[in-house]
Every structure is written in C-alpha cells, then in structure tokens.
C-alpha cells in the first residue's frame, strides 16, 4: 500500500471530503494562497476557489462564531486555527456556543476546528501548548488527536461527517516526520474508539498523539526487553473509550499513562480514575503517569526538554510499576 506522511494524510482526507460534499468549506488565517504555515492546505484555493477556501482576517472569536452560524444553517465548516494556542481568542464561541447549541436548542453544529498543536519545536509558550483538556472538559464537544497517518485521514473524514462539533488536533511534529500506510479509498476511523497498537501482558501504556511514537520507541529499548508492554492509542480524547482501556488493564493488571499535556488535571487523571472505578480489583500496582510538568512551555531547548516527559521518565515509570 502507499505510504503518506501524517500531513499528506490529513490533506487527502480534507480534499476528499470537500469534493464529496458541497456543504463542506474551510476558513482560517492564511489558508489560501499561503497554504497555512505548515502548508496543509496548499493548492486548495486554486482547486476549490474562494467560496470554499476562505482567508479570514485575524479574529479567532469572529471566524469561529461565523463558522458556528454557518454550521447551524446547513453548512459544514472546517476551521483552521493557525497555531492551536490561538484558539483561546475564540474560546467563548466554542465552549458556550458550539458546545451548547444542541443541548439548549436541539440544533446540530456540524463543525470541525482543526490545526497544529504541541511542543518540541522550541517555539515557546504561545506556539506549543496541548489544549485537549480545555475542550475535553466541555460537554458537547468531541475531541480527537490522531497519531498515525491512517488515523489522521480516517478521523478528519469522521469529524467532518459528524453532526456535532469536533476539535481535531494535529501534532505539528508529526506532519512530516511520521509516514505510514494510507489507503487511497474512502474510509473513516470512528470517533470514540481507541486502538491497541501493540499487544502485551505485563503493563498497559495508554497514550495518544506524538507521545505514541515516543512510547513505541522507548519500549523497544534493551533495558525493557524483559517486559511485555501493551500500548493503547486513545485516538479520541472525548468520548473516552473506557472499554478498551479497562479490558487491557484487566489483562495486564498495570497502568501507565503517558501524555504531553501537563500533569495536574490532565487526561491521565481521568484515565486512572476510570481504571480505579472499573478495574480496581485487577490492579497489582498503583497506576503511574509520565507527563509534562505543571508549567508553561519554555522556549529554551534545555528547558523544553526538561518540560516534556523524556525516554528516561517513561522507562523509570514502567520500572516503578513493575517493581512494586
């Protein structure tokens, strides 16, 4: 099968959906001729014209609200946030409008908000954040974060076809670094379904996004050769696929959660709590989390490396659980 980069897979998913459904259109800052800072939408304007690919002024609150309005009345907007950190400027329109129109009015908001997130690029505190929990904690939204090209294409298509607002996170460090097999044909990856990426029997490692690749790299290291790790890629942050996590922990009896988001009130807390609620009796060690630390994201490479969970942090966490 063909191999595509993560970025190419997102592009293909978007292109196919724009072609498939006339109601789908895109809007955002510099997505037209410029193609966005990471060139995800390069060539889209030339192919689909200004009615489908709309360059907006710099006004996140304005164009997100605009997209909610369009979604309420029959269109399927896909909003690009140039760097996901900037979504904070449009917060009200997402958490009060997009998320609550169905609940308040019974009205569908088939809206996708997508864009690059994540650290590791020495880009400092306003261009590196993990924002999933801002939205994962807001009922009415769905939140997805693919880690592989296959899932990136399948999830963007699922997100666009979904009748609820979906926040779709793309880790900018995966765009050109990660390649994988992607079928050319139409397929979707269902929202709300995690995936067991590697089977194992000693410990369950739940992760998602760029951290999936780090975890897969770490568990191959010699020092861990005696440990059989089962790796679960969440793919969707909300709704959380509790069943897949619980089934895995029932099998391995141990849980490590790894995420790039900072620690306190991060997804690991929720995942651990669910495991405690539904599989406490199966646990043979207290669950552990390896996450970023509770600070903003520094620009300095030495500080950013300290901020992010390192290979050593993950290895230590695995050992700690196994040695309990």
């Amino acid at each position: 099968m063909r191999s595509l980069t993560y970025l190419e897979a997102i592009r293909e998913g978007l292109l196919q959906e724009i072609k498939r459904d006339k109601k789908v259109f895109m809007l955002g800052e510099d997505i037209g001729h410029f193609g966005g800072p990471f060139k995800v939408t390069q060539g889209f304007l030339e192919e689909f014209g200004q009615k489908r690919i709309i360059d907006t002024p710099i006004c996140e609150s304005g164009f997100i609200g605009f997209a909610v309005g369009a979604a309420l009345f029959g269109l399927r907007p896909v909003v690009e946030i140039q760097f996901f950190d900037f979504v904070a400027c449009g917060f009200n329109q997402i958490v009060n409008y997009a998320a609550k129109c169905k609940y308040r009015w019974g009205a569908n908001v088939p809206l996708v908000i997508r864009g690059p997130m994540g650290a590791g690029n020495r880009a400092g505190p306003f261009h590196s954040q993990s924002e999933e929990i801002w939205f994962g904690h807001t009922p009415g939204l769905k939140v997805v974060m693919p880690a592989t090209p296959y899932d990136a294409k399948g999830l963007i298509k699922a997100a666009i076809r979904d009748n609820d607002p979906v926040i779709y996170f793309e880790h900018k460090n995966l765009y050109r670094r990660i390649r994988g097999e992607v079928p050319e044909e139409d397929y979707i990856v269902p929202i709300g379904k995690a995936k067991v990426v590697q089977e194992g029997k000693d410990i369950t490692i739940v992760t998602y996004g760029a951290m999936l690749h780090k975890v897969l790299e770490v568990i191959k290291e010699k020092e861990l050769a005696d440990i059989s790790c089962e790796v679960v890629d969440l793919r969707t942050i909300y709704p959380l696929d509790t069943e897949t996590i619980i089934n895995s922990v029932k099998k391995t009896s141990r849980l490590l959660t790894v995420h790039e988001d900072s620690k306190t009130f991060g997804p690991a807390g929720e995942i651990t709590q669910r495991v405690c609620e539904y599989a406490f009796d199966y646990l043979s060690a207290p669950p552990v989390r390896a996450t970023s630390i509770d600070t903003p994201i520094p620009q300095s490479p030495t500080l950013e490396d300290r901020y992010l969970p390192s290979n050593t942090d993950i290895k230590k966490a695995i050992r700690k659980i196994l040695d309990y």
Binding site: D55, I58, T295, Q299
Partner: protein, 311 residues
C-alpha cells in the same frame, strides 16, 4: 535605527548558518516607527509590543546583549530563555513585553494606562500593534476602554500591509486603520512610517496630549517589512514592484540622506557611528554564545511567586 537594522540582519545571517531555537519575526524596514515614537519617551514610560518586537525593545533602550542572548535562549537573556524572540520584555526599562497572540497587548496597554492614572504620574503607554491586529476584538475592546476613561495610551499601528501573507486590503474596508479612531472619538493620524522625523513629530503631539490627561490617540505608521512574516517565510506573496517601491523608501537610507543633505552629519560621522554599532553587535553575539543555557531544573522556577510548588 541602524542598531535595530543590524540586529535583524545579524540574526538573519546567524540563523541561516547555524541552529538557533524558535521562530523569528523581524522588523527590518520598520525601524523608523519604533525609533520615531520611542525617542519621545522617558525611561519610566511604558511600551507594549507585538510578535515583531526586537525594534521596540531596542528603541526603548533595552540591553542589546540581553536581547541577543534571548535569541539564543540563554540564561543571560532578557527573559532567561523562557520566551525567546516572541516574548522579549524588560520591565526595568518599561518594555512590557512582546506577544505571540496578535492584538493581545492592546487591552494590556489600557490597563497599564489605568495604573498610571491611579498613581497620578505623568507617564504614558505606547501600544504597538500591526495592521492585522486591528481586526481582533481586543483592538476594539482595548481602545474603547482607554477612550472612555481617557487613559494616557498612544496606540501605534505599524501597518506593513500584510498580516502574515494576507494583504490588508482584503481584510478591512476602510482606507486607513487610523480611520477607525472616529469610532472611539479619539484622534486618528496617518503618517509615513518610514520617515523617522515625521513619526517623531506626530508622536510628540500625541504623547503630550496623553500626558496632559486628554486621552489616547491612534497613530497609523505606513511601513513595510523587508523580510517574511517569520524566518520560515520567503514572502513570495509580496509583488516585486511593490517591494522595489518600498525598498527605495528605506527608512535608514532616507534619514541618512537627510542628515547629509542638511549637513547635520557627514558621511564619515555616520560611518563612525555605524562602526560602533557593528562592534557592539559583535560583542552581543559573543556574549550570547558564551552565555550558559538555563539549568534544566530552572524550568519550574517562575510559575508562581513561591518556588516550592512544582513536581
């Protein structure tokens, strides 16, 4: 102005040759805006900046070595490597900080203006922002607040025609950003942002007005950036003819010509000044390169006033 230009061009040469962390948003070509405005300011006046803030920092008499060290994300940088180019600040000289969020500094400047008003000092705040920021809600909210409470803030739009790649004419329907001042009942002034003396003059009047308690002014400096939005942008959207036209009106060439023509300074005197700046720049690079990286465990040191909370 030459110091700012040389700083930006030195950075440009460095990051083409060797690794340098982070994005860089450079103000090459826009130097006269920062200098023309800030020459009117006192040490205790304030400036809020944009993502393109190196010039504002230097014009507000921020330390060159500390700025260069921040580009290298070193411990000796003005923000100890926490923020890099996008976040340069030095409160000790009244430089209240650059920002990666477009327009975010506008309400902040109004708040700084309120603090001045309540403390009853004669300080002022200059709020720099770009043409793109004038479409953010924060622009309306911040200027409106400053206007209704007659705060000592001078709003300075550096209109370089592009918000990243998007031309200003496709995102606003008025001819000038300054035309929007009428919505707040404050003066709106358009000036050639590449003419440092013209900028100086309009700024002087606006700053005097603010010091006298007569409230804010919106100044729009028409200018042009000579390089891309950031180091990763080759700016292919800038048409050749447009570029050539603006490059002819280079603020530094323009002012040099003026100084020589009016016999205020000779070519030799200007060269001497330039040599001093070159030497200072070399020293800044040496200082930055030889400075230590921040210690890894200092990552958590500035989160709260107390230092014992994290991990």
């Amino acid at each position: 102005m030459y110091e700012i230009r040389l700083f930006e061009e030195t950075l440009y040469e460095i990051y083409l040759k060797e690794p340098m962390p982070g994005a860089m948003h450079q103000c090459t070509g826009q130097e006269a805006c920062a200098v023309g405005i800030c020459e009117n300011l006192n040490g205790d006046d304030y400036v809020t900046s944009t993502h393109r803030g190196h010039g504002h920092y230097l014009a507000k008499e921020g330390d060159l070595n500390k700025l260069m060290a921040e580009m290298y994300a070193k411990e000796t940088g003005c923000c100890h490597g926490m923020g890099g180019s996008l976040h340069v600040a030095d409160f000790s000289v009244g430089m209240l900080g650059a920002t990666g969020i477009v327009g975010a500094g506008i309400p902040i400047s109004a708040g700084a203006g309120l603090s001045i008003k309540l403390r009853k000092t004669k300080q002022v705040v200059v709020c720099f922002f770009g043409d793109g920021a004038s479409n953010q809600g924060a622009f309306h909210e911040g200027i409106n607040l400053a206007s209704i409470w007659k705060l000592p803030v001078i709003f300075v739009c550096e209109n370089n025609l592009y918000g990243v790649s998007t031309h200003i004419t496709s995102v606003i329907t008025v001819k000038n950003v300054a035309d929007r001042a009428s919505a707040y009942g404050i003066p709106g002034i358009v000036v050639d942002g590449n003419d440092v003396l013209a900028v100086y003059e309009v700024a002087q009047e606006a700053i005097n007005r603010a010091r006298e308690g007569k409230g804010p002014t919106l100044i729009e400096c028409k200018t042009y950036r000579h390089r891309g939005h950031s180091r990763f942008d080759p700016a292919i959207y800038q048409p050749k003819e447009e570029k050539e036209e603006w490059f002819k009106n280079d603020p530094i060439l323009h002012f040099k010509r003026y100084l020589v023509d009016k016999k205020i300074a000779s070519e030799d005197e200007i060269k001497t000044i330039e040599k001093e700046v070159v030497a200072a720049m070399e020293e800044a690079v040496r200082f930055a390169k030889s400075s230590p990286d921040p210690a890894p465990d200092s990552a958590a040191r500035y989160t709260y006033v107390q230092e014992d909370i994290i991990l």
